[in-house]
């Protein structure tokens, strides 16, 4: 399946379809699971940052990083990876400033996923 007119750095549907063995039903179901689960993950990340729990924040950011990689959501993955690294280094202030960017990337991604595959 070819998807035209999309910003592949936000969401790469061709890459996702390749990794779902071309199965659109599987791809849709994974996208729905992702979109329903990820806001709770971001909230947990915020909680860990508010508690100054750098290890907890690192693990939550890591989980979002992996989920975004799985969804072929490159920009979201990149921001999550930056939060993970900042948390690991104990720079929680830096991590907190990246949360807005993370949420913006998620809403851009959600629009693209809904427009292209759901």
């Amino acid at each position: 399946m070819l998807f035209g007119g999309c910003d592949k750095s936000i969401f790469d549907p061709d890459d996702l379809m390749e990794r779902m063995m071309g199965d659109t039903v599987l791809a849709r179901s994974i996208a729905e699971i992702f979109l329903s689960d990820i806001p709770a993950r971001i909230n947990m990340l915020k909680d860990r940052l508010n508690e100054n729990d750098s290890r907890g924040a690192e693990l939550q950011a890591h989980s979002i990083n992996g989920a975004a990689a799985n969804m072929a959501a490159n920009k979201l993955q990149e921001v999550a990876s930056r939060i993970e690294k900042a948390s690991k280094a104990g720079n929680l202030r830096v991590a907190v400033t990246l949360i807005t960017e993370l949420e913006d990337q998620l809403s851009a991604l959600e629009k693209e996923i809904k427009r292209l595959i759901l």
Binding site: R19, M21, D23, I30, G56, S63, G66, A69
Partner: protein, 212 residues
């Protein structure tokens, strides 16, 4: 084959399960190291485990150490899941006892090939284990026959380890794979059935004369 997926991310877990089911595998999923440990502790646990490295609570690395400390004759095959850019994690994971790794995001072909490689190892392990068991059983029998057998000088009965005197044929049947077929040798035939013995001697003499 049966595979256990351990990952705290719901969408990754379901992606793995979806692809592996399409490849014909039987999949179980858990979201934490603690839940995985409960499954793995069961005697009929899946032998192949796809294990996420970083998870809250009991993480993949510590779970792997725990599994290796209890591995018996039939060890688990563990494939570690890591995010692409963590090369140091991969080295540490392999050093700790994982058998292989897959980086996220994973591609079905690579996943399929690595699972198959694991399946080959598990099959080979099972075959070796069953051969080792067969050998162990054979050795038990060989040992029985290699020991000193107390035998009665007159009736030729054998004393077993429970101090019971057994007939020789009975002893052979119960302690070896050999079967006993009963017959009578010519000397005993002469003692116990002299008439039949005489008749047989006559018959063979006649046959010899006829030939000459």
């Amino acid at each position: 084959m049966r595979i256990l997926i351990v990952d705290d991310d719901l969408s990754t877990r379901n992606t793995l399960a979806g692809i592996l089911r399409k490849c014909g595998h039987d999949v179980e999923m858990v979201s934490s190291g603690e839940e995985a440990w409960t499954v793995i502790s069961q005697p009929d646990a899946p032998r192949l485990i796809l294990l996420d490295w970083l998870m809250p609570g009991l993480n993949g690395l510590d779970l792997c150490k725990r599994i290796r400390s209890m591995d018996g004759d039939n060890p688990f095959y563990i494939i570690m899941l890591t995010v692409k850019d963590n090369k140091e994690d991969i080295v540490e994971g392999l050093d700790t006892g994982t058998d292989d790794y897959i980086t996220k995001p994973f591609y079905p072909e690579e996943l399929r090939a690595r699972i198959n490689a694991g399946y080959r190892i598990i099959k080979m392990q099972n075959r070796l284990l069953s051969q080792a068991n067969d050998l162990r059983n054979s050795l038990d029998h060989i040992k029985t026959l290699q020991g000193i057998l107390p035998i009665c000088s007159f009736c030729k009965k054998i004393r077993d380890d429970k101090n019971y005197w057994q007939q020789l044929d009975e002893y052979i049947s119960t302690h070896t794979e050999a079967m006993v077929s009963h017959s009578i040798c010519p000397e005993c035939l002469g003692i116990h059935y002299p008439e039949i013995h005489q008749r047989m001697i006559r018959k063979s003499t006649e046959e010899e004369e006829n030939l000459n």
